[in-house]
Structure formats: C-alpha cells, structure tokens
Symmetry: C2
Subunit: 202 residues, 2 copies
DNA sequence: GTCTATACCCGGATAGAC
DNA sequence: GTCTATCCGGGTATAGAC
C-alpha cells in the first residue's frame, strides 16, 4: 500500500503507463531532444530491454506521450472556451487555454511539437490531434456565417496565433517574469478578438 | 581556380566559414537535432579535432549559424516590408516575409528556433536577433499613435502571428501542396491586416 | 592550423535465458 | 514480461605530434 504523497515507482503493474509517466518527467527536466529509453528504464528500475516489449522504439513511446498530450490539451482548451457562449469568446478562450497549456504542461507540449514525430505514422496521435482542431471549427464556421471554407481558414488562423504566442513564450522571447504567462495568454486572447473584429469588418 | 558551378570544398582557407556552410547543408538534410560536428568535419575532409580550434563546442557553431540566420532574416523581411509605405502594409509584409523565410531558408530558421540555444549566452546572436525585432517596432508604434508600450505589444503580436503560421507550415499542419507556401504567407499577411483593423476599432 | 590517436560516454536494439 | 549480456554505432572532447 503506497503511502499517500509518496511518489509511486513502478511495481510491475503497468510498465507502458509507467514509461509514459517517466518520459514526461524526463522531458520536463531535460527536454525531448535528450530523452532516451535507456534513462527512462534506469529511473524505473527496469533494464533497457524491458520497454521493447511494449513499444517498438523510442519514437513509438514519444508518440504515446504526444497522444496523451493531445487528449489533455483538448480537455484543457475546452475548459477555457466551452464556458463561453459567443463564438468569438470561444475562440479567444481557445487561444488563452492553448497558451496556458503549453506552459503548464511544457513536457506534453514538447512531445506534441518538438519531438519531430511523423504524425501520420501514429493513428492514435493523429486522432487525438484531430480532437483539438475540431474544437476550433464550429465557432469559426458560425462566425463565418456557415461558410465552411472560410471557417476552416479562420480556425487555422486562430490556431496559428495561439501557437505563435505559445512558442515565443516558451522560447523566452517575452522575457521570464512571474505574471508573464497570464499576460501573454491575455495578449493571445485579445489578438484573436481583434482579428475577428477586423475580419468581420473587411 | 575553382570551376564555376562546381561546389567548392574546403581549401584550407577559412574553416570557420566552411563549417557554417556545411552545418547549413546538414541541417537542411537531416534537421538540427541530428547535426553533429563530427559529420560536418567528415564532409569537409578535416578531422573531428579541427573545428575545436575555431568553436568551443557544437553549440557555439550552431550559434554562429543562428546569427547568420538572424541577419539574413532581417534582410529578407525588409525586402518584403520596406517597399511599403503604410505602416499596416509594412507589418503585413513582415509577416509574409517571415513565413517565406522560414520555408525557403529552413535550415537557418531551425538554427534560430529549433536548436535549443541559450540565446543570451551568444552576444552576436542576440544582437542579430535584435535587428529582426527592430524592424517591427517603428511601424507598430506609428500605428499606435506614438504610444511606445502599445507599439511594442503590437509588434510582438505581429511577430507571434508570423511565427505561428511559419511553425504550422513547417510542421505540415497546413498540408504539403505546392502553392501552400504562398497561400499561407498570404494568410499570415491577411491576418495581420485584420488584426490591425480590429485593434484600431476597439 | 590541422592531424593522429584515443579515451570516454551514451543510446539503440537484439538474442536467449528464466 | 523481464533480465543478462552484448553488439554496434555514434558523438564529444582532449593530448600531443607535425
């Protein structure tokens, strides 16, 4: 019976999940680039051969991490955009949630965009990523008066804006103050508002 | 006397520059992550020890590549935004130029943003990056009626928008069609226009 | 300024025992 | 499902000769 508050290590119960958890820890500590199966194995107290029973190779484990990332991102984003009623507010909330997710779940975000994965190769990942994208489409299409092509264009634009702010923030381009995350998340949300207002008045 | 059209290899003339050129080739071929001094040395026909006379380590060479990237980016962006007269057009041109640069000079762009460099550690790089940023400020401040804080905010927003489109495009999120580059560059430029119009009508 | 040689460390991945 | 053992390849970085 594991003590509460004591981080539980691998108990020969579920190595795949333990590997994913450990991968996230390691990515948090040293970045995706230097993540290795060997180090994850060491930290879990299993040998380097063990992971290969569950994942074909390093990339397949990273893809599993990325898939979890996409699922969590979808949840986090919906939590910030789903409470809104107006479609413009939903898209602005999406951008805010996206930026916050990138920073608070740095490792997951890195697995999603910094691992150099060939996404089409991993169906689970592709499907999970689709869920994120699909959050943006309905409100975007609504704002475009039902025009699906224009809505898709707007949705991608909002995604790009959110992504740009998130990347700049992670990269330190905004500096590293304490309230910086909220400030930039607000900036992203404001940018989406401006963008929509400007677009509708074209 | 090197034949015209025949790519010149290293002639014991300028190893530092030759290393930078070769690094760019290699990054183009396999990405920054897998770039190594060893392979660059091999390709140039020098031993692995030679580069260490000129660069302290791998990161210092990558920083030199990144610094060149920033200088070239500043030139490329000015070429697309400097011909315009209206500040809004200048910022839209900047976004278009940024996206085009990211794709046409993929390796340089990767050195700038994908190498995980501690930018403050490399003064040349920081200075060159500053030049890029400084392109956006004057028109942004002008659009904000001289308000420097608001101008800085707008400039960063435009940069983030351009960056987001560029990253999504490189990542394949827009698909990989032939006219995709121009299409997305146009989308980025349009987004900046919309953003500015919306912002001014707040 | 470059080479030879080398020490060192690390990761990926597999075969075969248990 | 995990371990032991091992092979293989690769990169970083240095010392010392030329």
């Amino acid at each position: 019976m594991p003590l509460p508050g004591k981080k539980r290590r691998y108990h020969h119960g579920d190595l795949p999940t333990a590997l994913i958890d450990t991968a996230i820890e390691l990515i948090d500590e040293k970045g995706v680039a230097s993540f290795s199966l060997a180090e994850a194995s060491r930290r879990l107290g299993v040998t380097v051969a063990a992971p290969y029973r569950h994942f074909a190779d390093r990339d397949e484990l990273l893809a599993a991490v990325a898939a979890r990332a996409a699922r969590e991102a979808a949840v986090a984003i919906r939590a910030e955009s789903g409470t809104e009623d107006a479609p413009a507010e939903q898209l602005a909330g999406l951008a805010r949630g996206y930026v916050r997710f990138a920073v608070t779940k740095r490792a997951l975000f890195q697995a999603l965009f910094g691992a150099g994965l060939d996404k089409p190769k991993y169906p689970d990942l592709a499907a999970a990523a689709e869920q994120v994208a699909s959050t943006a489409f309905p409100p975007a299409i609504e704002l475009c008066g039902g025009d699906k092509a224009a809505g898709a264009d707007l949705a991608m634009t909002v995604g790009a804006v959110a992504h740009g702010f998130a990347m700049f923030l992670l990269d330190g381009e905004f500096g590293t103050g304490d309230g910086m995350v909220d400030k930039v998340a607000g900036q992203a949300s404001q940018a989406v508002h401006d963008l929509i207002r400007g677009r509708l008045s074209r």
